[in-house]
């Protein structure tokens, strides 16, 4: 029979199943069972691809819309901010109106941030990637987040990697880490520990497609996500947070960013028992000598090369 661990990642499940199918093709009975298993997996993959296509189309429409309105919206904000600031400059120091103008400025700045986030959808082809070492970027982002997310929450980063280059912008990695950690913090009411791990992995479903990658996982022991909601969690403006507590853009920004830089994202979640988001990104292939800065990565790269042959 085709026995595949329930918790194995889809790529492993499919690879294992193909392997078993080949091994058992000559044996009546078991081959049928495995073919049935393969058919189920194919249906699962078709559904998954359709979901991703739907998400991509939604993001594309949002991108076109946001590009169109952003300029006009920022012009309106510019007028509001400009007049509020000039008003503040004219008012005496103890005028009660100062607070009103300061609130207008604060709200305008929040609106500007929201537009900036929406604009991330508008021009996916414009990102200019460089080779970014994800390890220090993740560490620096977590250090910033530690002070922002409150003393009750601990962000625990662990990795055996000293150097894990991917082809992206530094801002991409920061966006991914920030949004996933903020999401985890909200799911745990800003209490407990969020585990962040970075590991080497293999990407690709078939031996031909195999390539080295990194897996960034962010796990919390929070409220978890109901299976019915998991399909929609990456949709723009979808949020389970209370009104005013979230824009519903965080995870869709993560989805869009990860897709832009050639990766993919997986979610495993149990309601009441927490969630784990796994981001899979291809490792940037660099000149041999630049990778020698880390023996850990060198060793793993050699292993990957061996597996592919």
């Amino acid at each position: 029979m085709c026995s595949i661990p329930e918790n194995a990642p889809p790529s492993h499940r499919r690879a294992s199943c193909v392997q078993v199918e080949r091994q058992t093709a000559a044996h009546d009975g078991e081959g049928d069972a495995c073919r049935s298993c393969l058919n189920k997996l194919d249906a699962h993959y078709t559904d998954l691809l359709n979901q991703r296509l739907g998400q991509s189309q939604a993001l594309e429409v949002l991108g076109a819309l946001s590009a169109g309105v952003a300029h006009d919206f920022n012009t309106l904000l510019g007028t509001i901010v400009g007049h509020a600031e000039m008003g503040l400059d004219e008012l005496p120091e103890h005028s009660p109106c100062r607070q009103n103008l300061q609130q207008i400025l604060a709200a305008s700045l929040r609106a500007r941030e929201l537009i900036a986030r929406i604009l991330l959808f508008s021009a996916p082809h414009q990102c200019r990637r460089i080779t970014v070492d994800t390890v220090p970027v993740i560490q620096e982002t977590l250090s910033l987040l530690n002070s922002l997310l409150g003393p009750g929450l601990r962000l625990n980063f662990s990795s055996d990697l000293e150097y894990a280059p991917v082809s992206a912008e530094t801002g991409h990695i920061q966006q991914i880490v920030m949004n996933l950690c903020i999401n985890a913090a909200d799911a745990t009411d800003h209490k407990g520990t969020v585990e962040i791990r970075l590991d080497l992995t293999t990407l690709g479903d078939t031996p031909e497609e195999r390539k080295p990658g990194v897996c960034l996982s962010v796990s919390d022991k929070g409220s978890g996500i109901h299976p019915d909601l998991q399909e929609r969690i990456f949709d723009p403006f979808f949020t389970t947070k209370d009104l005013g507590m979230g824009s519903g853009l965080g995870l869709s920004v993560v989805y869009d960013t990860v897709t832009q830089i050639g990766g993919h994202i997986e979610l495993s979640s149990t309601p009441g028992d927490g969630s784990t988001f796994r981001i899979y990104l291809p490792l940037a292939v660099e000149k041999e000598n630049s990778l020698k800065t880390s023996t850990a990565v060198d060793r793993n790269l050699i292993d990957f090369a061996g597996e592919g042959q």
Binding site: N74, T75, L76, G78, E85, M86, R112, L119
Partner: protein
């Protein structure tokens, strides 16, 4: 004090920017599109141009190119509506290569404006 030409199609934003510049001690002349701006450049000879890029009739890019072709080297500050790319083949980096001295992203405050003006007029 500097004589500044503001090119912006949104009336309210244009008035606000003109007021802000006047508070900074500059004199201001305004235009609503690139075509009008080119006429005012010849007539008023501003020492600084602050222009939006997306404009009716003649946009900011064409205006900047025509100024360069006419040998007019008035420093230009480009205003961006927030998008990094203005069109498929023109982004903010391209604007800097075309001789734009500084870029202001809407919404900006007086400090941002002061800095952009200072950068644009440096060495003049």
């Amino acid at each position: 004090m500097t004589h500044v030409l503001v090119v912006e199609d949104d009336l309210q934003f244009r008035q606000m920017l003109a007021q802000m510049l006047k508070l900074e001690g500059h004199t201001v002349v305004v235009a609503g599109d690139g075509e009008e701006a080119l006429q005012l450049v010849t007539r008023h000879k501003p020492r600084l141009i602050i222009t939006d890029i997306l404009l009716p009739r003649k946009d900011g890019i064409d205006m900047i190119m025509e100024l360069a072709q006419s040998g007019i080297d008035t420093p230009v500050i480009a205003i961006s509506g927030g998008r990094r790319a203005i069109s498929a083949d023109f982004n903010l980096e391209s604007a800097l290569l075309m001789g734009v001295k500084s870029i202001l992203k809407k919404p900006f405050n007086r400090v941002d404006l002061r800095q952009a003006v200072s950068v644009a007029l440096a060495g003049r």
